[in-house]
Amino acid sequence: MTNPAVAVNGLTKIFSAPLHPARGIVAVKELNLRIEPGEVFGLLGPNGSGKSTTLKIILGLVSPTHGHTEIFGRDSRLVESREAVGFLPENPYFYKYLTGEETLRFFGRLCGLHGGRLKERINELLELVGLSKARKRRLGTYSKGMLQRIGLAQALIHEPRLVVLDEPTAGVDPVGSREIRDLILDLKRRGITVLLSSHLLAQAQEICDRVGILADGVLVREGHLQELIAIENQTELVIADASPQLINEVESVINRSKAKLIENRKSTTTLERLFLEATRNDNSKSKEK
């Protein structure tokens, strides 16, 4: 049996108040999780539900009060367990005085990369995240979306098998958000396991295979996304180029049966897609001018 990418067993974290140890805050309570290699797992929940604390414990940045976590079978308190992990924290700032290229070189050296291999890897990643032209610019001049993308590049510098993303699209505009989502889907295609925390549910729905929902530190739901959100007794038909007669016929068939037609409406695009199309058109027009 292969080791799971992430295993969380009986995890509890209590932050004790400095002057009142008895009045501790329970951030995570008896959490059990198993994330298989190659999955995109979304840890969802409102602010303060324990998502970031769970991620930090998995990465060995915070110690658990009870329970333990493993990354590909290695105790995540061991420094070497992090060889397999790339991490992008929420709203990362990095070192403003470094350029994009210098940032990747720094993180690459921390992972034991050197010389030609490091140079090659930097070029690949800058290309992947679309920052080749901004490689010589200091991070202080980067936009939020660019920072997030350079953050993702540093997380991937040593070709990790697991990528942990804490609110990867927080504060990023829809275009940047779409780019990050595409990058995550690309990671999935390459067989990299992705564990992400988010409270942007529509986005998580688009990219996650499985999700876990945390509320007040307790895992209240967990499973395959499609199974969790499916409404058992309802079915959707999406028909293109249907004439009014055809629709009437379908409705009359339904009415003759025991089933009940709940809603008949025009399909709509998403507001995000509308926004992306509109801004893309505006951009190309302004370029033509």
Binding site: G60, V62, T65, P92, L98, L113
Partner: protein
Amino acid sequence: MANPIAWRADLLRLRQVSARHENHEPEMTNIENASTLQSIGGSTVARPHRDFSFSRILAITLNTLTELTRLKVFYVLLVFAVLLIGSSVFMAQFSFQQEFQILKDVSLGAISIFTSLLAIVATARLLPQDIEDRTVYTILAKPVPRFEYIVGKIAGVLLLLAISTLVMSAAFVLVLYLREQAVIHAALTQMSGTPPEQIAEVLATIRSSAFNIDIVPGIIIIYLKACLLAALTLFVSTFATTNIFTIVVMAFVYFIGHLQATAREYWLQEHGSGLLTRVFLAIVALLFPDLQAFNLVDDIVAGTAVSLAVFAKTALLGVFYTTIYTLLAAFVFYGKEL
């Protein structure tokens, strides 16, 4: 400090190794190691993990140096240069002995104050800033032990202090040399027609009162004092909540450290030298290092030679304090919840 993750990790690694020994299993070869890393979670491009790596420390050291350099802390050196040039212009009215004496006094005093100031101010912000900006998460989420992070940070500051001390010392020696040459030139002009022996005697007097080789150990001790202060600042910053707190604590340490020796002598006179007193004084000496002991330049400027024994003892004390404070900083940072 409860639940130090890294200790547990070390303990765990120790248990795994000892279990292997107990079961009489051979140590893994490099090839087995590499293939295990591939199969259980190693990355494909990086080298296999090593428990201790100089190249990781060097990466953090150079990054810290770049950070401090790009924050323009070297402006302090400009202030030093202005002070040096200003004072040498002002002192042209004194006799050359007085002039050289004051120049050395002012310059070495300024080097001491500026390196100490730089050590405290540059170090105080390093850890809190990394934690506030979350850069520490990205660094420690890589296979980087916390000890290496701390050592890399302090090594970056020590490198910065070494460069600053060298630049200030070079500027000081240059100004001293130029003033010496100017005085020699003036003396030669005034003494035209004087017998050569007399001229040689005057030149020897000028030269001996200008540059004195004892200045070098004095400057090394100034550097070590700054290293000590940087390491202590790093230690304080591991548990301080703000930069201001660290700087205020260090200002107290700085002043108490300079008065400590006098207070200690007074205490010993009053209370004798029993075991309890010695333990108490050792704790005080650890918290507030005797900074006055690092002030060798006063004697050097006054013309007293510093013996090798005193220099070696003071240098060792500086290295000892710097090491102890760095280890203490690493110890506290090990257990810190980030």
